[in-house]
């Protein structure tokens, strides 16, 4: 695949080389950053700035010029609660239901998924037969679009779905999985793990492959036990990759939306309504489109994510140092 890019790279080399010498750059970091920063500035930072502006303004207009400034009103409305633990006591009960659902969802999903992804990666890294096939199998669900994932599992789990037909065939009691709040939630976590685990397995696998064989060979010579080899060699060397996986999984977990939305619609009631669904249904798909509260909610979410990520990075630093 890199062959395809070869001519492009050669072409880019000319101006890059010229710039590097012409500007007498000892450190051409900014040169390498520049294209990315342009794209980011226009299509990532700028929309977020507009989003901030939305959060501080009211009405259902989409152009900023149509929107009156309301200050922190959208934030205070979201935060107006007698008790944050009881959504019913909040002015915007749906937001807080979504918040608590998301907290539980992310905790379960990230914990289970990273655990299983690690086990799967370790197994796939063994000398097993048909490794390519198995690797493809575990990654396959990642290729499916979220809507298809939801569709498949909905058909399996619905009242007269495959699972119930199967239970019935075995003479067991059938159950309406998606009508029960806890089961619907549990299956949403499962479905989300099913759909994304392959991705994290792949990253971990790439990390495992990067650990040089000779390190293990040395460990073998020293007659280190496998468990010791894992703890002393694999885990530390895998830590940078593990960090990527944890940070990404947490962020993506908190932002889970499409597959669960297509799967349960956030129901039964609001049992599986997650924050991004709240944002989506309040803002973009709302009637009227209340961009203010939606943007405010998304910024609160982003703030929490930043805090979480910093904690993860900090813990990792401590780990590496210690």
């Amino acid at each position: 695949m890199l062959m395809i890019l070869e001519p492009i790279m050669r072409v880019i080399e000319v101006p890059m080389k010229f710039l590097q010498t012409a500007l007498r750059l000892k450190n051409p970091a900014w040169l390498f950053l520049f294209p990315n920063l342009v794209l980011f500035g226009l299509f990532a930072f700028l929309p977020i700035l507009v989003n901030v502006a939305y959060a501080l303004t009211g009405s259902d207009g989409i152009l900023l010029s149509d929107r009156p400034y309301v200050g922190m009103q959208n934030f205070t409305d979201l935060m107006a609660c007698e008790s944050y633990l009881d959504p019913n006591s909040c002015k915007d009960d749906l937001f807080w239901r979504a918040v608590w659902n998301t907290v539980w969802f992310t905790t379960l999903q990230v914990g289970l998924m990273v655990g299983f992804a690690l086990i799967t990666a370790l197994i796939l890294n063994r000398d097993i037969r048909a490794r390519g096939f198995f690797r493809a199998v575990f990654f396959f669900p990642v290729l499916l679009s979220p809507v298809v994932v939801a569709l498949i599992w909905k058909w399996i789990l619905q009242r007269e779905g495959i699972l119930n037909a199967w239970l019935d065939g075995l003479g067991l009691e059938t159950f309406n999985w998606l009508l029960d709040r806890d089961w619907a939630f549990g299956w949403s976590v499962f479905l989300s793990i099913w759909a994304h685990m392959g991705f994290y397995t792949l990253i971990l696998l790439a990390g495992l492959q990067a650990i040089p064989r000779d390190v293990y060979e040395a460990a073998m010579m020293d007659r280190a036990s496998p468990w010791r080899a894992f703890r002393r060699i694999t885990l530390p060397l895998l830590m940078p990759t593990m960090l990527v996986v944890l940070v990404l999984a947490t962020i993506k977990g908190v932002q889970t939306f499409e597959e669960v939305y297509a799967f349960t619609g956030g129901g039964p009631g609001s049992a599986t309504t997650l924050i991004i669904q709240y944002v989506y249904e309040t803002g973009f798909a709302g009637a009227p489109r209340l961009f203010g509260p939606a943007a405010a909610a998304s910024l609160l979410l982003a703030f929490v994510l930043v805090v979480l990520t910093v904690i993860q990075l900090w813990l990792n630093r401590k780990n590496v140092d210690g």
Binding site: R159, L178, A271
Partner: protein, 424 residues
Amino acid sequence: MSFTTTKLTTAMATAGFALLGSGLAAQEITYMCSSDGTECATAREIFDRFEAENPGVTVVVDEVPYKAILESLPVQLAAGTGPDMAKVTDLGGLSQYYLDLSPYVDAQYWEDSFGGTLDWYRKGADDNGIYGLHSQLTITGGYANKTLFDQAGIEMPGGDATWDDWAAATRAVAEATGTDFPMAMDRSGHRIAGPAISYGAKLFDANGEGKLVDEGFTAYVQKFVDWHNDGTMARDVWAGSGGSSYQDAAQEFINGELVYYYSGSWNVAKMDDNIGDAFDWVVVGSPCGSGGCSGMPGGAGIVGFEGTEHPELVAKAIDYLAQEENYAEMTAKTKNIPAHLGVASKGVEYPGASEGAANALNAWAAQVAKVSPVAFQYQGYKNNRAMFNITVERVTQAIVGELSVEDAMARAAADLETALAEAN
């Protein structure tokens, strides 16, 4: 097909331009269309004739997902882009962008032919413009599985039966035949509005602004929630979903697991195709409440947008669809009920539909007369989508027990207040 058409029209455009050099020559307009079946293909056929009659004119039919019409189109219009014309369902919500066709069309013909539906597209009570062609009139109401009634040996309630009568009868049938569910209703704020109106919901305050919660509305919601709790209504439909997502129960009805299904006229083709010979089903319209026996009218219409560069052509194209024979053809091929009064009074012959389906469609057409004026007004109200969404969300919470009916209604009223305060 579209490829050859484009080629043909390009050739025609060149020829037309050379010959005439003026008029509508070499103009292209885009029509954003979403389909529940054959709507876009039928429009394409009619526009093919329109293009042949007007050399140099091209109507591009862009068939898009319904989601694009519902969610993307409003954003595009607000940002000042979008197509020249579209098939829309949020009739009132987008009315600020509609192109007034009245300067270009025979207003008298439109008034005579479409009457009340023209109001749905207007910006207010004192607006006399002509904005939209109601191409797909629908009406909500019930389907009953007649075979199950026969098997149970229970007589089907008559035309003036109340919701309670139906609930009792269907419960008895379900029990006698071992059917899973007596009744079900689509998960939609539009569907539940008809029954609520029948129970006296006014839906508007004295100033004509939306007001969701009143005695009548609460009365029906209370019944509706109770029916879910005692097993009369299939819980899967409303309680199985969340947010404002739509859910139907057609699959249950088609599989004979449901005695009575409150949905609407658009399901006829689907029932006809998928039930086939499995059992007999009949259209029974809307049951009655204390204040009437109303369903909700609905559907989609074709509008032009002010932003278009070719207003005259857009008007001409829509007017072409509105002509009696074209409208009749469109109605027949898409298996809809007509909003055109002339077409309706003559009756529509549905080619390719089974006898049962044709009868069902005509039975639906007869239901239009029973619709309450409140329902008509609600359908054209610009903030009705907000009210539909709030209804679905809050009533579901009452059904699954997250909120009591009383709390749910209080929340619904507060939600609508917020929404109306923010909406322009």
